[in-house]
């Protein structure tokens, strides 16, 4: 039987990610503009504030966890994991 490859710590280490508070987000797009890897874009839906919040989309695993998005966000909507 092939050993089942369990998700281990290393998987996480090489895949930094961000989490976005979509109800808090004001859709200012500063994170979109300042992400050097183009990993953030606008959602299709509209949140309770009446704006399109942002979405983290990193299919190619480009995110380096540089935190530029969270540093630029005026509303503390982004948490960065690395």
């Amino acid at each position: 039987m092939w050993p089942v490859r369990r998700k281990d710590k290393r998987d996480d280490i090489i895949m930094p990610k961000i989490e976005i508070n979509k109800e808090r987000c004001k859709g200012c797009r500063l994170c979109v503009v300042y992400c050097p890897k183009g990993c953030i874009r606008l959602e299709d839906f509209i949140n309770k504030r009446g704006v399109h919040p942002v979405l983290f989309l990193d299919k190619d695993k480009k995110c380096t966890g540089c935190s530029f998005c969270a540093i630029m966000c005026p509303d503390m909507c982004i948490e960065v994991y690395k």
Partner: protein, 242 residues
């Protein structure tokens, strides 16, 4: 995997009333991160201005009071003198500090009060609807200068750091900007130094932060940030003035 960046403890969970992209939120967060890092949340007393940041006490998770328009340095002086063991900082906009409150800031600085002032210069009165501030750029259109600021009628942009830097009471005056992640990191260093100075009893410290008011600069958040980088910095050079 661990969280490397999230909301500081000194910041409440409430979301702010600021317009999308407004620089006040960034400056609020920097102050809170610094208070967390210095471990002074229990000792800190903030003074909110009149201006868009008037209800900063709803966002900051430490003691905060509010001063009449422009009177932040006077209130900070009083609090610091009766409670010298507390860390007292004032937060002011450019209408608050550089127009109605010019006398208060000059004299607090000249007395060398051991307080910290964070001065958010967004080149306009935000709260009242985008009127000209003393810091408005020449040719900048505002609600009260619809044809653009003209020095013959309205005078020149007021350079607060340069002005205060000649006063012997001032220990530290630096101008920073928040138009990019790199600059935000530099701004944080400057604000931290201004707090550390007070802890060390060094004296009066002021950090002027060039910031964007997308609503009354009349640009999108990203273009207003570029405007700060391209237009404001030319008039207001960054650096340590004292």
């Amino acid at each position: 995997m661990s969280k490397i960046l999230s909301k500081p403890k000194s910041m409440k969970d409430s979301s702010t009333h600021y317009c999308a992209g407004c620089g006040h939120g960034i400056v609020h967060r920097l102050i809170c991160e610094i208070i967390d890092e210095l471990g002074i949340r229990e000792e800190t007393i903030g003074i909110a201005p009149v201006g868009c940041a008037v209800i900063a006490y709803d966002y900051w998770n430490f003691d905060v009071t509010e001063a009449a328009h422009g009177r932040v340095p006077a209130v900070a002086t009083g609090i610091k003198r009766v409670a010298p063991e507390n860390i007292v900082f004032g937060y002011q906009g450019d209408g608050d500090l550089a127009a109605i409150g010019t006398a208060e800031i000059v004299h607090a600085a000249n007395r060398g009060e051991n307080i910290t002032i964070i001065f958010v210069n967004n080149a306009v009165y935000g709260m009242t609807g985008g009127q000209m501030a003393p810091t408005t750029m020449l040719k900048q259109k505002t609600a009260t200068t619809p044809l653009g600021r003209d020095q013959k009628t309205h005078g020149f942009p007021l350079k607060v750091c340069e002005l205060l830097s000649v006063l012997p009471g001032v220990s530290y005056a630096e101008r920073v900007s928040i138009h990019s992640p790199q600059n935000i990191i530099k701004a944080k260093k400057a604000i931290k130094r201004a707090f550390q100075n007070q802890i060390d009893g060094v004296g009066f410290s002021i950090v002027e932060v060039l910031s964007q008011c997308p609503t009354y600069i009349g640009l999108s958040p990203e273009d207003s940030v570029k405007w700060v980088a391209e237009t404001m910095i030319k008039e207001y050079p960054l650096g340590v003035f004292r």
